[in-house]
Symmetry: C2
Subunit: 231 residues, 2 copies
């Protein structure tokens, strides 16, 4: 006698935003550990550091994702950031919101993730935003994530007719050292991740930008050798 239970019905699907950096790699590892079928999503928004996307695909191979998709959105046509326009990447962060901030980037990436989640019937979105090291970025704060989750449940069939969508930002309150430790526990190969804002085509880091400094500090504070490949 055949079972009338659809084995797929019990699968919990998640869309996981994967940028190629260390934070989203750890986030993917956490979603995988929690038993989600992970649909990894990278958003190619015209970023200066395109080698991140190569790293992103490698990371998805490590955690046997159900699917990997790159969606293109041309944020260069909007500009306004050192990552998408002809503005130099600074070597030292100052006060306020840094020029590497990309206007509305996280809103746009989460919105695309929401669209894919709705198509898949996924009830979870994971993203690796972190409020500690990136306190200057307005769209990395817990209030922002909570507001996006509220929006997601008003914007979609899943929210209106279904079980709702939960937006997970499991690293949001962790330090970079905590993220390093969590990644090591989960078996993340940090050597294949790329955090640098201006990595070269082979994914080698500059060692000077804010992202490089924060990453190096994380390994130092966690007391772990830094596997980053520098130019």
């Amino acid at each position: 006698m055949e079972s009338s239970i659809d084995p797929r019905a019990s699968i919990q699907r998640a869309v996981v935003l994967v940028s190629g950096g260390m934070d989203s790699a750890v986030t993917l590892a956490l979603a995988h550990e929690q038993g989600y079928a992970c649909h990894a999503l990278s958003v190619a928004y015209g970023q200066r550091h395109a080698s991140e996307l190569i790293a992103a695909e490698r990371i998805t191979h490590e955690f046997a994702v159900a699917e990997y998709k790159i969606v293109q959105v041309d944020l260069r046509s909007i500009g306004g950031s050192a990552l998408t326009a002809d503005i130099a990447v600074p070597e030292q962060g100052g006060a306020g919101i840094p020029v590497t901030y990309v206007p509305a980037r996280n809103t746009i990436m989460l919105a695309i993730a929401l669209g894919w989640a709705e198509v898949l019937g996924a009830n979870a979105i994971f993203c690796g935003v972190n409020a500690v090291d990136y306190s200057g970025y307005p769209d990395c704060r817990p209030d922002f994530i909570a507001a996006f989750e509220r929006l997601a449940n008003l914007a979609t069939k899943a929210g209106v007719e279904g079980a709702g969508i939960h937006v997970h930002a499991p690293l949001i309150r962790l330090s970079k050292a905590d993220i390093v430790r969590e990644g090591l526990r989960l078996g993340v190969d940090f050597a294949i991740t790329v955090s640098c804002y201006q990595a070269d085509v082979d994914g080698r880091a500059c060692g000077h930008c804010d992202a490089c400094r924060l990453r190096a500090q994380g390994f130092a504070e966690a007391g772990v050798a830094d596997p980053t490949r520098y130019v």
Copy 2:
């Protein structure tokens, strides 16, 4: 003696989402009437009805916009809608959310508008969503717009450090007949707008899809001759 007042400082800038359809044309006309310098934005998301974008550009010429931009985002790679995947456009709407609903489309388009608004220093975003005729679309309701505005003010420099961003949806509670009347008052040339979900390359409408039916009803109820060009 030169004035120390920057004339640009008093200009109120708005990003106006313009799809090429009649609703967004009337919305642009309203933003223009209210004295905003209008930065018109179309999002090319892989829609079936690409002739809408040709119409959008024509409409922006009618209202002397400050700038017109098309941003590409590839929603075909996500699919899930009759407008972006190989799903037939229905001739008659049924109950519930129709297959022409594009998952998270309005969230994605507003997010891109938000990014551009932030780059421009615009404090307003206008969109032509309408809750009356499109009651089946979750992302056309007043609650959705309010939630997006709240998100916008948490997501951006303008919200955190500046004067805030207001999201205007001036048609949200109007009937299609009201929109026709408002457009005529404002001098909108409806003949150049394209609402049809499957218009041909010259922008001629099918006359059968939900969008065509609602549009034709609007002209009929307003007691106005329908200027739509049909195939």
